[in-house]
């Protein structure tokens, strides 16, 4: 929050920067880098799933001693499935999405010169960077990276005898995640404090854009739930390295009885999912917030039911902390608990339905400006509904029994949190690129990117429900051991083809993104004719965001097409006219 200008060196400006705008770009670039790795891994294992015995030169080229003649080993298959999940959930959709946009937008949209603590913000990014580096290094461990699934259930994750990835690979995974959690806690605390304390004059909580509400509530969920994962990870480290028995008991492996006595893997499941389920919303809420903002701006209409939207964000956040047991209906947990969790889980459908209906109503009688960000936002609403609805099957303990851990689950959560959140992230990048880089992204490439991705995403995940309903378990290296599943082989080939199409489409995005940074058309100050404060700052970034006074706010952010105004947008800084009522 320094108004005085001290001389900035290359290092303080681009590397150890405390400016939230620079940190947000650092998050984005790191997130994109990790995303490339995560998506590329999915291409590799999709090849294996579709053509289990076939040799691929790309597998031979990238998997080193983990493959034989272009066919990957079962161990590395499980490892890349694990790392794909870890990277996409934590590094891309948590840090990459929330880190980027919370950092960029919180100070800009609430009217603050920077985060409450620029220094902590910088530390948060560099911890994230460090954890990314450790995760990437773990890929090169001799025995392979962690391979017990992204949920790292012990004993599999605790015993190197059980799977080679549970040796050094798992240690690095745990170290990386511990640092990651520290990073996200620092970030989240900063976001909460900033939103509560640094709002500009007139920026009441009920005048905050929904993006900020989403980031704010997300940060609260993060602070509540991430420490529990940290403790789960620490106890696992204790079991692995110091011989404690928090999660382990009565184990006989490779001809030998181990000393562990009295622990329970179910304890780990509870601790893991106490973070793991809120994590879904940590990923999803920022995407929904971004979508609210973009749909409203591009529909040239106020978001429908602003207060209901805030209410449902809060309701979802609250409920998200008491539903974790729906991941454990068949874990051996008491069936009565299953009943309770079914009840709380299906409750979440209510605020989610409210959100979906409100988005659709916002489009109604709008004047839709089909910018790439808008396409991704509409796409998000579609995948959010498609994926959310199958949650009614999985959240119902009775129905979960037979689809638990099958491809039905994979299809469900990829649509509702994977694809939806990544759409939100793309929407955000297209929309705020001019704010980040002072240039515009190419529109035509954006359109191609969206349509190919949209077709591919449904092409991958819609048929996937059916192979789950055919009873095919997830995380199978190959289905050739079961003649029963011979008829899903064709479906898997279709899915893989769509997956490759979708993966390839991301090259369009990467090309557009990186070249636009240098060659994109120069942006105007408020290219989307938006109401929010970030568009009142100069195009060229300055420390402190506004050259003079921070503008005061006089109205909510969604006065689009308000009767009585010449233009179809009214910036939050515009005072109310005589006799005008605030919406």
């Amino acid at each position: 929050m320094s108004d005085h200008h001290h001389k900035e060196t290359f290092v303080t400006k681009y590397i150890f920067s405390t400016d939230h705008k620079m940190i947000s770009k650092q998050y984005l670039i790191t997130g994109i880098f990790m995303g490339v790795i995560g998506v590329f891994m999915s291409m590799l294992f999709r090849l294996q799933i579709a053509w289990p015995e076939k040799s691929f030169s790309i597998i031979e080229a990238f998997l080193g001693h983990h493959q034989d003649g272009g066919v990957m080993s079962p161990d590395i298959y499980l490892a890349i499935v694990t790392i794909h999940g870890t990277i996409m959930v934590f590094f891309v959709l948590t840090a990459g999405l929330s880190g980027t946009f919370s950092n960029l937008l919180i100070p800009l949209q609430i009217g603050a010169r920077d985060m409450a603590s620029g220094f902590l913000n910088m530390v948060s990014y560099w911890l994230f960077f460090l954890s990314s580096i450790i995760m990437v290094i773990s890929l090169f461990v001799e025995a392979g990276p962690a391979s017990a699934g992204w949920t790292i259930y012990p004993p599999l994750s605790a015993l190197p005898q059980a799977i080679p990835g549970s040796g050094l690979g798992m240690t690095l995974w745990l170290v990386s995640m511990a640092i990651f959690i520290a990073s996200s806690l620092l970030g989240a605390l900063n976001y909460i404090v900033t939103v509560l304390n640094l709002r500009t004059v007139g920026m009441k909580m009920t005048r905050l854009p929904l993006t900020i509400w989403a980031f704010f509530i997300t940060a609260i969920i993060g602070v509540v739930s991430f420490p529990v994962l940290l403790s789960a990870a620490l106890l696992l480290i204790f079991d692995r390295s110091f011989g404690t028995s928090f999660y382990l008991s009565d184990i006989f492996i490779q001809g030998e009885v181990l000393h562990y006595q009295g622990g329970s893997p179910v304890l780990f499941e509870h601790l893991f999912w106490f973070l793991g389920h809120p994590e879904v919303y940590i990923v999803l809420l920022p995407a929904l917030g971004i979508t609210s903002e973009i749909i409203s701006t591009n529909s040239r209409k106020p978001i429908f039911g602003y207060r209901a939207m805030i209410g449902s964000i809060i309701a979802i956040a609250f409920l998200s902390t008491i539903v974790w047991g729906h991941h454990m209906f068949v874990s051996g947990m008491n069936p009565f608990l299953g009943s309770v969790f079914t009840f709380t889980t299906l409750l979440i459908a209510i605020p989610s339905a409210v959100k979906a209906f409100n988005y659709i109503t916002t489009l109604w009688k709008g004047n839709l400006q089909m910018n790439p960000a808008m396409l991704f936002s509409i796409g998000l609403v579609s995948t959010f509904i498609s994926g959310g609805l199958t949650g009614l099957v999985l959240g119902d303990s009775a129905l979960d029994i037979n689809v638990h851990d099958t491809y039905f689950v994979v299809a469900h959560f990829h649509l509702v949190m994977g694809v939806s959140a990544i759409y939100g992230m793309f929407a955000g990048v297209y929309h705020w690129f001019p704010k980040m880089y002072g240039r515009m992204m190419n529109k035509t490439l954006g359109y191609w990117h969206f349509w190919i991705t949209a077709v591919a995403a449904y092409g991958v995940f819609f048929p996937m429900h059916f192979i789950g309903l055919a009873g095919l378990p997830r995380r199978y290296y190959s289905n050739t051991a079961f003649p029963l599943f011979d008829d899903v082989a064709d479906v898997n080939i279709v899915i893989t083809m769509f997956a490759i199409l979708g993966g390839a489409a991301q090259i369009i995005f990467l090309a557009n993104f990186f070249i636009s940074i240098y060659k994109g058309k120069k942006a105007t100050q408020n290219p989307w004719k938006s109401n929010t404060l970030e568009w009142t700052t100069p195009i060229e970034h300055i420390h402190g965001n506004w050259p003079g006074e921070i503008p005061a706010v006089h109205r909510w952010p969604y006065d689009y097409s308000k009767p009585g105004h010449e233009e179809d947008y009214v910036c939050q800084t515009t005072p109310l006219m005589d006799g005008e009522e605030e919406s």
């Binding site: 489009l363 004047n367 029994i401």
Partner: protein, 335 residues
Amino acid sequence: MTALLYILLAIVVAVAIWQIASILNLKSVIATEKDNNTQGILFAAFGIFFYGLMIFSFVKYSSILLPDSASVEGDRYDTLYMVTMVLILIVQAITQFLLFYFAFKYRGIKGRKALFYADSHKLELIWTVIPAVVLAGLVLYGLSVWIDVMDASDAEDPLIVEVYAKQFQWEARYAGEDNELGLANVRNIKGINTMGVDMTDKNALDDIPTRELHLPKGRKVIFKFRSQDVLHSAYMPHFRAQMNCVPGMVTQFAFTPSMTTEEMRLNDKTITKVEGINKIRAEKGEDPYEFDYLLLCNKICGASHYNMQMKIIVEEESEFNSWLNSQKTMAQVVQ
């Protein structure tokens, strides 16, 4: 080296894409009226693709789905599933239609002003209350099925079977004449006593260890699950049954088989499915497949997780009893 080539190739493609696009699109970066029109129409087209994909999948892939349930409890499961699925499809069809239709219908036109419509308590009340009521019904229905499936305490003369998991194999142990399983712990594993049965426990002597799971039709079976190393999950999809096997504890699931293996082979849906599979196998020159119930591992457990299975044979009670009587008891095996 080849890896580097692949990466270079991707970069070349990326640059090429940009070059082509910058020639095509030198000026405008914000959606014009023409773009709104094109993209709006594309949303309509995408809506058609979306419904097409849905209908195609239901028609084409219905043959790969699991056949009718082979357990009494599974029938209730299937009804609940159908009710839920119909509900989901109705909501899906309506909301997605509205979404794509609005995206098409209200595509931007220059000079038109959108309707300033920020709130309607009536509408919001409607779409809070309706989902709440529907969900309340679904929760109650679902829980009645759940309690029914999970509560085996009122079963009369159930068959008690232990299912034992280890990397990467299943074993089973029948409770024998006393219908009570002997104590067991991994610390007793020795030689042929692979499940660690405690031979000093008198209940253990008549237990019957097997490598194949036989179940009697029409009698409730209570499964007791154990694992000796990592988590496994005993998944019996044809019976709509699944429970994790957790080292250090005993978990439980129960169902009543309602169709013998023979009967299931003659079930219409099974016949269609098996025909489909055998067509594919014939093309690959593989032996024809005959339907069998299976127990699969459904919790990631290591390298051969994908091949951890056990055959299940459901037969009439008399056949089952004579099979069981022909098996050796623990006392006989360990001697």
